[in-house]
Symmetry: D3
Subunit: 136 residues, 6 copies
């Protein structure tokens, strides 16, 4: 039996979208309000989906308490109530768009799960805008 | 990096399900309350998902402000606070079931995005009933 | 022990806002898109709150199965999948704004509950617009 | 035109996770609070998604009133306000983890729909934990 | 400045509605499926609202981290993943209707907050049924 | 007829909780992660409720399009995608706790509505923490 198991977590962070290789004018015109030099912020909602074989003995695909701890250790403890640009080393040279945040989260979690499991990330920046990434 | 970016929009419209090739009895028996000749209505929720390559320079798959404007120009400005049967020419000869509304929306938006991007539509007619369509 | 017990129900209906004592121009300018002569529609969400003494023998303020049936008989069976202007006699001479719909619903339900209970209605026309009415 | 149509239903049930082949210590250490011998419970949310060809005559993939009745007859009438371990024969020899509940629901509904339709189940045990299963 | 500050928490529990002073027939006819002798369960959502003076120095009415800990110590650690009838002494002689659960929770939390603060409890048994209680 | 009409709006902002009259140690110990000198952020959800007489001619308590514009002019255009501490003059000498943000919003909106209307503000900082304020 192949199934997927998902866990929802949240973190609240500040960020700014700014490409240092572009002029200030281009940054402001391209990123709009998201380029505010004083930062703005979001309540990010993260859905981590694991796909794989269900263990017939326990009836679990993965223990969601274990997955919750992986997400907390790898993501929310590091991102929550932080400024993604200034406080999170992963975004030192990477613009913290929702796409790039999803990319970073995918790699952090994928390093902690077994190889035979597939990983899919959904990251809501707002209730109306969200990104999905599965490592491709 | 291949990812998906989604935008949620809403519109409120009246509609009636009625097949002019069927008798009134068959229409009423098949469509039930949805066949009411005086129309009824819904708050439709639309999720537009674009899949493609993320631009490494900007960190964006697609500028969601641009996608928001495409959805407003192509869909919500034309459907919102309208009677789909009477006010929207796309449904002159097409029954406005949620399936057919999703089909019309997919084609309207797909005409406005670049060819290398894939498009997937989710249309909620109510909180409990929804349709997905991706052009197949 | 005084408490409140609430039940959530939904109905989907078409309506049009139009004051027959006003010119077409005034109607269109005042009600905007809601004045569309061909109607538009909504998924209405209704919260019915009853306040009163909890019965110490049963531990119930009111049997919510009974309240559910009152709401269905008095409101949703009459409003759901209907055109409020054309199909519901209460709106023959009353403009079906959310305020007036809440007023009509309050009176219909208040007639069916015991005198010592207080009634409060919340009516969501959309996720972002809602009305409250308690009989005053 | 190939599309998907989904219906959301809910049921409220008690359950306990316990593997009779394991010692009490192993059960308690593995399942944690879910192993409580006196049971605990959940409001389960179920999303049933059907994928197939849309009928061009009716504009329907499947009549969602029919799908609603299948779900009620096969699942919610049997599971709602029940103890899954004691009252539902499917779990006599199967631990009612969310994975196994999704497996049972998938087979019950798949037996009732036409062969050319594909079925996908999403089962929320809580707002933050959910399982998906499509028969593989 | 007088304001209200609210915190949302959740717990998942089994329960059964049964009045030992009534016959089995009366219990079954009055409580319906909720009288199932093998129990059923819910994901309860609890909103704890505190009303009082905002401290002008800190800008806080109450530290919501403190309120969160009070709720966890007094309510969720004792109710979550429990059978309310069998595992929670408060319901030894009190039928665990949502009304009575709200009453018990109000008294547990009110004992832990300062006298000048007012307390209001909202308890959702399902998304569609909820109780409010403020100590009267 | 006295009723209430509510409108929901959202804004996304960065902030930091820091009392300049306190030592860094006291700030960090009292505000915890919210004291991060590099800021963090939230998707704030704002519910603006107006209570007053319904106009019997139009059936409106207040035109919600007018209320929407007041909220956008007074609040969301000034707060959205901003750093509340650095970009919004109202918080130059006022700590932007949710309580104080609600206070500022209440006064900004109350200045724009007619005297006979009552105003109540609900401000969600997260899905689980929210403040209510009505001018007292």
């Amino acid at each position: 039996m192949i199934a997927s198991a998902s866990r929802v977590e949240r973190f609240n962070a500040a960020h700014r979208l700014h490409n240092p290789d572009w002029s200030d004018e281009k940054n402001e015109s391209f990123y709009g309000l998201c380029n505010n030099p004083n930062y703005h912020g979001h309540n990010y909602k993260l859905i981590v989906k694991i796909t794989g074989e269900v263990d017939s003995e326990s009836g679990y695909l993965i223990d969601l308490k274990v997955l919750k701890n992986i997400i907390r250790n790898e993501v929310t403890d590091k991102f929550d109530h932080r400024n993604l640009n200034l406080d999170v080393p992963d975004f030192k040279d990477l613009i913290p768009t929702a796409e790039n945040i999803a990319y970073v989260i995918w790699h952090k979690i994928n390093n902690q799960i077994e190889d035979h499991l597939n990983l899919h990330i959904t990251l809501y920046e707002t209730d109306r805008n969200f990104i999905e990434y599965d490592g491709k």
